[in-house]
Amino acid sequence: MDMAQKVSAETAPGTTPGATPDTTNVLIVGVGGQGVIMVSRVMARIGQLQGFDVKQSEVHGMAKRGGVVFSHVRFGPTVWSPTIPRGKADILLALEWAEGLRWLNYLKKGSGTFIADTRHIVPPFACLDRTRGAKLGYLAEPPGVVLDQVADGYALDATALASALGNHRVSNTVLLGTLSVVIGFAPEIWQKAIAEMVPPRTVEVNLKAFEAGRRWAAAARENPESAREHTLRKPAVLPELEARDFELRITPEWCKGCDICVKMCPERCLSLNALNIVELTEPDRCTGCRICEWLCPDFAIDVIKTLPETASR
Amino acid sequence: MENFEIRFGGSGGQGLQLSARLLADALIREGRKVARSQSYEPTSRGGLSRADLVVAAKRIDYPLITALDVLVLLDQLPVAVSMPLLRPGALVIADARRAGEIPEGDHDLHLLPLSESALALGNERATNIVALGVLAGLGEVCEHDTLETVIRDGVPPRFLDLNLRAFAKGVELGEAGGPGR
């Protein structure tokens, strides 16, 4: 699917490429402090202003800075569930590059649109060996590679555009500008929603950021290759997946359900069960990075490395 | 005297504790039992100071002064508090210059130029040793030779000569008896 085709498809809500006639699913991801929640609330507000039923769910229990944050926004004539199943997002909006990569499997195959800031913010712990056993690793894929994998993609240095306006924090609004071109609706509606949601003192710069994002998107449509401007190096060959050389051992009788591991897991592969005891619910995503082990105050999680024979003493 | 109580009274810094220690040492060498106590106040510079010995041939029951047999006074300060403790007929040795006002009473007073003698020897601080010499000279408390030996053993070498001369002067004063009253 080429860019022109997608551009022509951009007309009205509900007709976004790949979306069901009823519901548009927007998944917004980033790390703490970037403004994921603001973006999702603007999206939700726009849905309301358009008269749609809107459902929004967000995970932002992490902290002001550094932790992983994501938000699901769904709008349409009638929306039942607030969460977007894997592979069902029409749009994945990533405020941070690696987070965008990590959530790629939520995007609809063949039709989803990927919008991401190319800036890297290394989250806490820097995920020592996230690549081990993980499908997508930090810095492993430059934008060009990613954009080749998605139906439609925009990789822009929104932070640079925001900084040019004098406030790097409005990078999220730059991305909203880009998103507005993809989704449609009248710009005035977007501007109204943004003005409502941002602090009064920053309305002006946010509206400028919105325009900057729109201009960049418009230029990208004029010249699709410019959307790939960040293809900085040749596509890397993804390493073959190694056999798992670790095991996550949970001692349920020691777990007190404090939720630290669940919230801190970069891969979100842990959750608390009905008894408030931790369980490994997404074992495929576990990379053995040990963050849960280190941060468990109850010593209830051990990451056991099964060292290769040659390395064992 | 076999069992007796003796006090060295004066003001802080006069070397009363040394006198008492040397005398105690000598008495122990002579086979007596001695309990030594002292005023326990910060009196190294002036202020009432005293050193008491309770001496017995055998075991000492009560180790504190109850009735003094001998009182050595190097200063006026301890006079008032010590006089009531005197046993009738007690021996009192007082420095004529610094403890000249001794009340009348049933005691054997020897008012002697203790500090003047020390000054004449070149150091007033040897007054305490002059007093020891008087005790030896009077011959009632302790043997001369034992006392001289403990002085030789017990004072710093650089002061030994001065102290031996002070001791000898005291012996001389003691043997002369001095003006009783």
Partner: protein, 382 residues
């Protein structure tokens, strides 16, 4: 090195320090306080000579804390203090009693309460020495009355402390502490140095507070592989805390039972002229010295007087006291406080004997004449 004992004129506090050295004390932590400071001063000289440690701590609490720490490390350890400092030490006396850590605490009594009379004698800590820390606890209090006895009782304090795993308090008044008397110092190496029972056997099955026949559990030394837990919380035989009523009772009873079980080892007293005495004077420290002269004087006058002097003040030598006073009609308790020891004597006499108190609180020692007058007054001949 002299192979025979040597006579030395020592101040009471010096004798205490030298007794500790002879007993094997190799750790001293203290804080200066009148009238006990000479003990620290002497130990500051003796400890490095003996290959031990002297440390002047930041306060009284820290001093006993450091002593307990050193003792837990295996060293024989001591601290010394006086009135206000003894009050501050109570917290750690309790710890030593509860966790069963051998240690020796010297209290040179001075006038109180509070700062009181720093340089004047008192016997006002008779009850505090027994009951100063909170909760039921077991301590031994030794009350020497002469300088040679300070030396020997300090040695005995270490022996009892090590053998029974508890704090032992050496309690004497300022007069005895500053008195100079002649002490026969045994030749080096001739004093029997008592040592605690050390853990032996398998570490896995070792119980640091096991119930043994003598009620004194062996102690594990850090580094020997036992890796035990020590706590001031009421704890099980394993060393770990418990609140189970029956466990708490079992542990508490065993600890207090040590004193009963080893009563013969612990108790020490002097009974002079008590066999036929109709009046017995009971006193410790300088008051007992006055009493001895008074009793002798009374005897010379034909009055049947005797002296009972507990050398082990706590636990009070009850049966010895009872047999010593079997013939007595009257007990006189002479003490430098408003009446503490007399309470124990009244309890022991149970109303069967007349108990009279000489309680002096003016900062001066009781004089023999005062006691003698009382004996004469109470004597049937008087």
């Amino acid at each position: 090195m002299p192979s025979q004992s040597t006579a030395r004129d020592l101040q009471g506090n010096q004798a205490c320090a030298l007794g500790a050295v002879a007993a094997g004390c190799r750790f001293y932590a203290g804080y200066p306080i009148t009238p006990s400071s000479e003990i620290a001063e002497t130990m500051s000289v003796e400890m490095p000579r003996a290959g031990g440690v002297f440390v002047q701590m930041e306060d009284e609490i820290a001093s006993l804390g450091a002593v307990l720490g050193a003792s837990m490390g295996g060293a024989k350890a001591m601290t010394a203090t006086s009135g206000p400092g003894f009050s501050l030490k109570q917290e750690h006396i309790g710890y030593g009693a509860g966790a069963e850590i051998p240690c020796v605490i010297v209290n040179v009594m001075r006038g109180g309460p509070s700062t009181g009379l720093p340089t004047r004698p008192s016997q006002g800590d008779i009850m505090q020495s027994r009951w100063g820390t909170h909760g039921d606890h077991s301590v031994i209090v030794l009350a020497p009355a002469s300088v040679p006895e300070i030396f020997s009782e300090t040695i005995r304090a270490f022996a009892l402390s090590e053998r029974l795993r508890l704090p032992v308090i050496v309690l004497y008044d300022e007069v005895i502490g500053h008195l100079v008397e002649t002490v026969e110092i045994p030749a080096p190496g001739t004093v029997e140095v008592a040592d605690r029972k050390w853990a032996t056997g398998a570490a896995e099955s070792f119980q640091p507070y096991a119930v043994t026949d003598d009620l004194v559990p062996p102690m594990a030394r850090p580094g020997d592989g036992y890796r035990t837990h020590t706590t001031g919380l009421t704890h099980l035989e394993s060393g770990f805390p418990t609140q189970e009523p029956e466990c708490v009772e079992r542990i508490t009873r065993r600890i207090s039972g040590k004193l009963v079980h080893h009563r013969e080892l612990i108790e020490s007293y002097e009974a002079a002229g008590c066999e036929d005495a109709e009046i017995v004077v009971c006193a410790i420290g300088i008051s007992a010295r006055a009493a001895r002269r008074a009793v002798n004087a009374a005897r010379a006058q034909g009055i049947k007087a005797g002296l009972f002097r507990p050398i082990t003040l706590w636990p009070f030598p009850e049966s010895a006291f009872k047999s010593a006073t079997a013939s007595a009609r009257t007990i006189i308790v002479a003490e430098l406080n408003a009446g503490q020891l007399v309470l124990e004597i009244e309890r022991l006499c149970g109303g069967a004997r007349q108990v009279e108190s000489i309680a002096r609180v003016d900062g001066e020692p009781i004089e023999p004449a005062e006691i003698e007058a009382k004996i004469r007054e109470l004597s049937s001949h008087g």
